[in-house]
Symmetry: C2
Subunit: 301 residues, 2 copies
Amino acid sequence: MNLTILGCYSATPRTLNNTTSQVLEINNHMFLIDCGEGTQVELRRHKIKFNRIKHIFISHLHGDHFFGLVGLISTFRLLTRETDLHIYGPKGIKEIVTLQMKLADSWTNYNLYFHELTSKKTELIFEDDKVEVHTIPLNHRVYTNGYLFKEKEGPRKLQKYLAEDANINTAYYRKLTQGFDVENEDGVLIKNESVTKPGEKPKSYAFCSDTMYKEDIVPIIRNTDVLYHESTFLDQHAHIAVKTKHATAKEAANIAKQANVGTLILGHYSTRYGSIEPFKTEAEDVFDKVQLAEDGKVFCF
Amino acid sequence: MNLTILGCYSATPRTLNNTTSQVLEINNHMFLIDCGEGTQVELRRHKIKFNRIKHIFISHLHGDHFFGLVGLISTFRLLTRETDLHIYGPKGIKEIVTLQMKLADSWTNYNLYFHELTSKKTELIFEDDKVEVHTIPLNHRVYTNGYLFKEKEGPRKLQKYLAEDANINTAYYRKLTQGFDVENEDGVLIKNESVTKPGEKPKSYAFCSDTMYKEDIVPIIRNTDVLYHESTFLDQHAHIAVKTKHATAKEAANIAKQANVGTLILGHYSTRYGSIEPFKTEAEDVFDKVQLAEDGKVFCF
């Protein structure tokens, strides 16, 4: 599971800071999460193949999280993309994109599917045999969702020497990795656990931005391997966080602690601060596995 | 008159090429012409003060000419701008911007005026005591206008020693610079031309992008000091130019020659070419005062 931070600052793009966008590579999927202005250029800069992106998840309709979306969709069209594209985001996102397509007389030549979200409860919005994606209802100034990406249990690992000792026909090996008990050549039922061991532990990633401190999300993201939680402000500006419905680094750490996550990544920093190091320091007072998102940084888990 | 090219490539922004946007500084105005994705970052990079931009002219509603507009308007709001902002562009531009504001629940705290254009004839769309701006109807796949920016005749220059010799009271000097004849201290009418000379020659700039070859624009832009004319293609791709309603470098030069402009600036290059030098070479076969737009280049006239 790799996470590439294309941008992790709040409000407006600047010469050295991009607004929110990240690419999550999980079980061979490339999920684009949020799409601030300039995202398409950052994708090029990181040599991420456009065709590998088939699903884009938009948290909310503030510009720093989606102003790059229509440009990306348009560029895909100009590059004669044929691969389907699915967009998940708040109701209204389809109208914004299609209005601009209509006025430009430029409809996509690939299939473009919008999955508009309106529920205030967590929902399963994508599922295949490898991954599932759930919404995480957040509390911001407009309707906002975080997203929880979970790998599914992979195949069990066959312990070949044990299967041979148990005199199992190789034709059954695939069934064993799928978790079934099988009969051996002597007609004896062999318990799956006696010849296989669990596959790799499925990984999970939760993206929570933008939101004020919201304890309700804890049960949804409990035991997640990696949590990206916004921390727009330091504690000294906690009053602005409340007013603008954002979170502080300490609050993000509090959520991480309660949810018992593996690693907390902080991001969505206000550009008012000279350095982002104090975000880490403040969060570490509460929770000890803290990392800082930075534009261009790649996290491997 | 200074022209800063923020971007001059067609279709999609890339790591090293920006789409169309330029800033024209003319008679103390800062006019932003087109606003491709990433324009706000280029404005920052060139240290152009956001508050000096009071008028934005959008040629047409293809993304490479306006996808940066909503982000710029939004950033102005976040920076608590108070200065009025006027947007000129095709009908539909207001709906695109206001829909996104509505869904983000983020209305500007400054006055935002839309001047939507629908006419297929040239129109005077802005005028004050220093400058006037006219549309230049173009021929592209969607409704498109170029823009002609013309300085107004400035004050005449008083030739002080002649005015003194003519025994004119200094109280009349301002009237003289305004072009009036005045009576001298002896009651004799003094002809304005005998004591003043013309002020600086007013300058003019015509922006024509995107368009296919269109001779009708020649009378509108005749004798313009500087013409920026799109040249998406070289002659070898003239057939694609016709199909996509763009122009070649040679065609741009042809227009420049017929209109007897002072300088032709080429731009809006397709990124298919390894070098832009051939655009100059091809245009110079027809017209000899050719310059190449380049991202970041500043022209002073």
